[in-house]
C-alpha cells in the first residue's frame, strides 16, 4: 500500500541537516526544495498532496488555502488533527507554495473551511483508513478492534500498539483521496468545535512573526515604483540625473509606462522614487465624482443578468394598490490594508521565484509567467502572510512590480508600496447602484418586487497586474470585480419577483473584490428596502420578514432567536423629536448567496440631529454557519466583519478628480477609530452534524442595512447612500 520511497525530508533529517528556512519544511533548504518540487505531488485527488507523516510522527499539512489573518491556519490544523487523530502540536503547515501545495483555488469567498477544509478532511480520513488497515495487518487485529489516539494505533484490548510514524514514516501514501472514506462522528470530536488559541498570535505580539514586509533573501535590493500622476497618463521622459546623488542607487527601470527605481537600501529607494524627475502626459478620463451616479446610469450596458424571475413583477407592480420605490447607492471602496503591499522576486538560472502575500499563489504564478513570457513551471510563487488584504488588494501587483525590477537588475528585489501607492492603485470595489420598486395590495401584502442593479460586467478571475499593463506586457483583458450579482435576488417568497443586473461595460477604476463583494451592496439595498416595505405595510420588520420566509426553517429559527437575543420590543412609534440625539434599532437578515451561512443583525444607533453624526452603539448578531470549527475564531471574524463594515458604511469613499484618486492617506480615506467602535454581542447556532460554511464575509453583508434601518427608526429618514456621512444625514433631515 505504501510506496517504499523515502522522502527527501526524512533523508535530510537522518543526515542531521537542520536548516530552518522560511515557509518550507524545517529540513529543506530552498535549494533542496527544488528537488522536492519534482517529487511532491500537488494533485487535488492525491492524499500525499495534502499531508505527510515522518518517522517521528510529525505531520505536515500542505494547504493551497492561505492564512489571511482570519485564523484558518489554526482551524485547518484542527480539522486535520481531528480527522487523522494526531495532536495539534505535531502538525506543521505549509501554505500556498506552487511547488508544494495543491491548487485549492483562491483564498476568497469564505471558502477556506467550507471547501479547502473539507478537502483536507477527506484526505485525512483516507489516510486514517489506510493507516488503520496497515496497523491491523501488523498487529494481527481486526480494524474494527483498533483504537487511535495521538497518532498511535492500539488494539482495543491488550497492549499491542504501533505509531503512525512506524507505519508510514517518511513514505508516501500513494493513494487517491477516497470520497467515501468514513468521516468521524462529530459527536466524538475533541478538537473541532473547540476554541483552540491561534498559533500565529504569540509571534505576532512579540515581533517574531515574519510578514512578507519582513521577508529578506540573500543579496536583496529595494525597489519602489513611480506611478503615473494621472491614471491613464503616458511616460514621456525621465531625467535620471535627478537621482544620481542618491547613495546606493542601482538602476532606474523604465518600460513603457512602468517606472521604478532599485537601490541597495530601502531609504535609498524611497529617496530615489521621491526625487526622480519624470514627465507624464495629462489625462482626465475619469468621470466627475459629483456626477458619479449619472455616469453609471449613462454607461453602456453590455448584458443583462436576470438573477431571479417569479410570476410577472412588472404587471403586478402596475396593478398594485400601493407602490414604493427607492434608489440606493454604495460608494467606491479601497481595501485600505494597514500594511501597503509588498513582494520579493528573484531570477536564478532562468527561473523566477516570487514571495508574495497573494491570496492566489497559483493564479499569480500563471499571471507572472504570462507577463514575462515564461513557462508556468519556471515560476514558483511562495506565500508569505502579509497585512490583511480582505480581497484582491495590491499584493499581486507588488509581485508583478518586483518581478519586472528583479529581471531588470539581475538581483532579488523587494518592492514595498508606499501608502499613496496602496490607496491610489489597489483595485477598487466598484460603485454600485440599485433601483427598487415594490407593490403592496390593500391589506399590506407585498405583491411585486422589481430591482435593477447597475454594476460592472465580469466575475471572478485574475485582475490584471499593473506592472504588465503599464509595461505593455501580456495581461488579462476585461474586468474581474468578483461575483457581484450574488444576493441581488432575495430570500423572501413574494408572489412576483424580478431582479435584474445591468452589467456595465466600464467602471472608473480597475475593479476587484473586497470582502462580501456585491453580497454586501446588494444586501444593503434589499434589506433596507424590505424595511421600507415593512413600514409601508405597518408591520414589525421582524414579523414582516418571517411572514415571507416561508420555506426555510433555519432562516426562520435564526430570526426568531435574534428577536429573543436582542430583546426586540417590536416597532415603536415614531421617535420623539425632543432631544438632539435620537436612538433607534434596525434589523437585517441574510442567507449568504442564498445558499449558505445565515446571519441576522440588530443594530442600535444614536443619531445627532444637529450634526448628522451617526454613532453605532451596539451590534447584536446571530449566525448559523453549520458546523463550527473554532467558536472563538468565528466570533473574531464576526467582530471584524461588523467593525470593518461599520467603518465602510459610515466613513469610506474613494475620492477622485478627473485624473486620479485623491484619497491617498488616512486623513482623506478615514476608517473607524477606537472611540467609534460598537459593542458586539454574538449568539452562534452550532450545528455539529451539518457542513461547515464560511464565516469570513457573511456577517459583513448585514451591516449597512442594519445601520440604515436603525437610523430610520431613530430619526425617520432613509439614508440610501453609503457612506452615511453627517452631511447626507443633515440633508435628509432638512428635506424630511
Amino acid at each position: 500500500m505504501f510506496s517504499g520511497k523515502s522522502n527527501r525530508r526524512e533523508f535530510l533529517e537522518a543526515a542531521g541537516i537542520l536548516i530552518v528556512s522560511f515557509s518550507l519544511p524545517a529540513f529543506l533548504t530552498p535549494a533542496d526544495a527544488q528537488d522536492a518540487t519534482s517529487s511532491k505531488t500537488v494533485a487535488l485527488d492525491d492524499v500525499d498532496a495534502f499531508l505527510a507523516i515522518d518517522r517521528r510522527g510529525r505531520v505536515t499539512l500542505y494547504s493551497g488555502k492561505v492564512e489571511l489573518g482570519t485564523g484558518v491556519s489554526t482551524a485547518l490544523r484542527q480539522i486535520l488533527a481531528e480527522e487523522l487523530d494526531v495532536s495539534l502540536a505535531s502538525i506543521s503547515l505549509i501554505e500556498g507554495d506552487t511547488a508544494l501545495t495543491p491548487a485549492q483555488g483562491k483564498t476568497w469567498g469564505s471558502l477556506s473551511i467550507q471547501v479547502g477544509g473539507l478537502q483536507i478532511r477527506q484526505a485525512a480520513a483516507t489516510a486514517r483508513q489506510a493507516l488503520l488497515q496497515e496497523a491491523g495487518k501488523q498487529l494481527g487485529v481486526a480494524v474494527s478492534d483498533l483504537v487511535v489516539e495521538q497518532a498511535t494505533v492500539r488494539a482495543g484490548s491488550g497492549g499491542k500498539q504501533v505509531t503512525y510514524g512506524e507505519l508510514i514514516g517518511g513514505k508516501n501514501f500513494s493513494l487517491k483521496v477516497d470520497k467515501q472514506a468514513p468521516l468521524k462522528d462529530p459527536a466524538s470530536y475533541k478538537i473541532v468545535g473547540k476554541s483552540i488559541p491561534r498559533s500565529d498570535i504569540p509571534p505576532k505580539v512579540t515581533g517574531q512573526f515574519t510578514y512578507i514586509q519582513d521577508f529578506k533573501t540573500q543579496g536583496m535590493l529595494h525597489g519602489r515604483v513611480i506611478r503615473p500622476p494621472a491614471v491613464g497618463g503616458s511616460l514621456q521622459s525621465v531625467d535620471e540625473s535627478s537621482v544620481k546623488d542618491v547613495p546606493g542607487l542601482v538602476k532606474v527601470v523604465r518600460q513603457n509606462n512602468f517606472l521604478g527605481v532599485v537601490a541597495e537600501s530601502e531609504w535609498g529607494a524611497i529617496r530615489a522614487a521621491r526625487n526622480l524627475k519624470a514627465s507624464w502626459s495629462a489625462w482626465d478620463g475619469l468621470p466627475e465624482q459629483s456626477k458619479l451616479w449619472e455616469y453609471v446610469r449613462a454607461t453602456k450596458v453590455s448584458k443583462e443578468d436576470v438573477t431571479s424571475n417569479v410570476g410577472n413583477a412588472e404587471q403586478a407592480l402596475a396593478q398594485a394598490a400601493k407602490r414604493v420605490s427607492a434608489t440606493y447607492d454604495f460608494a467606491i471602496h479601497s481595501h485600505a490594508s494597514m500594511g501597503p503591499s509588498c513582494a520579493v522576486a528573484e531570477f536564478k538560472d532562468g527561473k523566477l521565484t516570487c514571495w508574495s502575500a497573494s491570496q492566489a499563489p497559483h493564479d499569480l504564478r500563471a499571471q507572472l509567467a504570462a507577463m514575462l513570457s515564461m513557462k508556468d513551471s519556471d515560476v514558483e510563487v511562495i506565500y508569505v502572510e502579509g497585512s490583511g488584504c480582505y480581497g484582491r488588494n495590491g499584493h499581486e501587483d507588488a509581485a508583478g512590480d518586483a518581478a519586472l525590477l528583479a529581471r531588470a537588475v539581475g538581483r532579488p528585489v523587494r518592492v514595498q508600496w508606499m501608502r499613496d501607492d496602496e490607496n491610489g492603485w489597489d483595485p477598487k470595489g466598484p460603485p454600485t447602484l440599485m433601483d427598487l420598486q415594490a407593490g403592496l395590495d390593500a391589506s399590506g401584502q407585498v405583491v411585486a418586487w422589481y430591482s435593477q442593479l447597475y454594476v460592472p460586467e465580469g466575475g471572478g478571475g485574475n485582475v490584471k497586474l499593473l506592472a504588465a499593463d503599464l509595461a505593455g506586457l501580456p495581461c488579462e483583458k476585461g474586468m474581474f470585480p468578483g461575483n457581484i450579482i450574488n444576493n441581488s435576488a432575495i430570500p423572501y417568497a413574494f408572489s412576483n419577483v424580478r431582479t435584474v443586473a445591468h452589467r456595465l461595460a466600464e467602471t472608473p477604476f480597475r475593479p476587484s473584490w473586497i470582502r462580501a463583494p456585491g453580497r454586501m451592496q446588494n444586501t444593503f439595498c434589499n434589506e433596507a428596502f424590505v424595511d421600507e416595505l415593512a413600514f409601508a405595510a405597518g408591520a414589525d420588520p421582524f414579523e414582516f420578514r418571517l411572514r415571507y420566509l416561508t420555506n426555510d426553517p433555519r432562516g426562520t429559527e435564526l430570526l426568531k432567536r435574534l428577536q429573543t437575543f436582542a430583546k426586540w420590543q417590536g416597532r415603536s412609534a415614531a421617535r420623539s423629536a425632543g432631544s438632539d440625539v435620537a436612538s433607534g434599532r434596525g434589523v437585517t437578515y441574510v442567507k449568504y448567496e442564498l445558499s449558505r451561512t445565515y446571519v441576522g443583525a440588530v443594530a442600535d444607533v444614536e443619531v445627532n440631529r444637529k450634526s448628522g453624526d451617526i454613532f453605532v452603539r451596539r451590534f447584536i448578531i446571530v449566525q448559523d454557519c453549520g458546523q463550527i470549527i473554532n467558536p472563538d475564531g468565528v466570533k473574531n471574524q464576526i467582530e471584524g466583519n461588523v467593525v470593518q463594515t461599520v467603518s465602510r458604511t459610515l466613513k469610506e469613499e474613494v475620492t477622485f478628480d478627473r485624473s486620479r484618486v485623491t484619497s491617498l492617506d488616512w486623513g482623506s480615506y478615514p476608517i473607524l477609530k477606537f472611540p467609534e467602535v460598537p459593542d458586539i454581542d454574538i449568539d452562534l447556532i452550532d450545528r455539529p452534524a451539518e457542513k461547515p460554511w464560511g464565516v469570513g464575509e457573511p456577517a459583513a453583508a448585514v451591516v449597512p442595512s442594519a445601520v440604515a434601518n436603525a437610523v430610520f427608526d431613530a430619526v425617520g429618514v432613509r439614508i440610501r447612500s453609503v457612506p452615511f456621512t453627517p452631511a447626507k444625514v443633515r440633508e435628509a433631515l432638512r428635506i424630511a
Partner: protein
C-alpha cells in the same frame, strides 16, 4: 551604515538592525503601526528622523518581551486572542504600554481614547481594548 540624518528611525530599526516589531504602515504618522518608545514615550518611528533620536532610549516590541518571556501586555493580547492579521498590533501594544505606565487602572473609554490614533483594519478593536484592560489589572 546610515548616510542620512533625515532617515526615519523606522528604517534604521527594520533594515539596519533587523527588527520586525515596528512596522511600516503609512510613513505619515497617521496609523501607529511603527510605534516605538522613545525614553518611555510612544513615538511614531516612521516620522522620527534619526537626527531627532539623539541619546534617547529606544525600545521596540521585541524589547518588551519574547515568546519565552512575555510582558504582561503581550500575554494579555494572547489570552484575549486580540489579533487578526496582526499588522497593527505592534502599535497597539506599544501605545498601550506607554499609556498604562501612567494610567494604572483606566476605564474602557480611556483606553479607547488612548488608542484613538492607532488604526486597525481587521476590526479587532474590542479584543484589543479587553487585552489592554486585562493588562492593566495584572501589571
Amino acid at each position: 551604515m546610515v548616510d542620512d540624518p533625515d532617515m526615519p528611525l523606522l528604517y534604521a530599526l527594520r533594515d539596519n538592525m533587523g527588527l520586525q516589531g515596528p512596522r511600516f504602515g503609512c510613513g505619515l504618522g497617521q496609523c501607529g503601526a511603527c510605534t516605538v518608545h522613545l525614553d518611555g514615550k510612544a513615538a511614531r518611528s516612521c516620522v522620527t528622523p534619526l537626527s531627532a533620536v539623539g541619546k534617547k532610549k529606544v525600545v521596540t516590541l521585541e524589547g518588551l518581551g519574547s515568546p519565552d518571556k512575555l510582558a504582561a501586555i503581550q500575554e494579555a493580547f494572547i489570552t484575549n486572542q486580540a489579533a487578526q492579521c496582526g499588522y497593527c498590533i505592534n502599535g497597539m501594544i506599544m501605545e498601550a504600554a506607554a499609556f498604562l505606565a501612567n494610567n494604572k487602572s483606566p476605564s474602557e473609554a480611556q483606553i479607547k481614547q488612548a488608542l484613538a490614533n492607532n488604526l486597525c483594519r481587521c476590526g479587532t478593536h474590542l479584543r484589543i481594548v479587553r487585552a489592554v484592560k486585562r493588562a492593566s489589572s495584572i501589571a
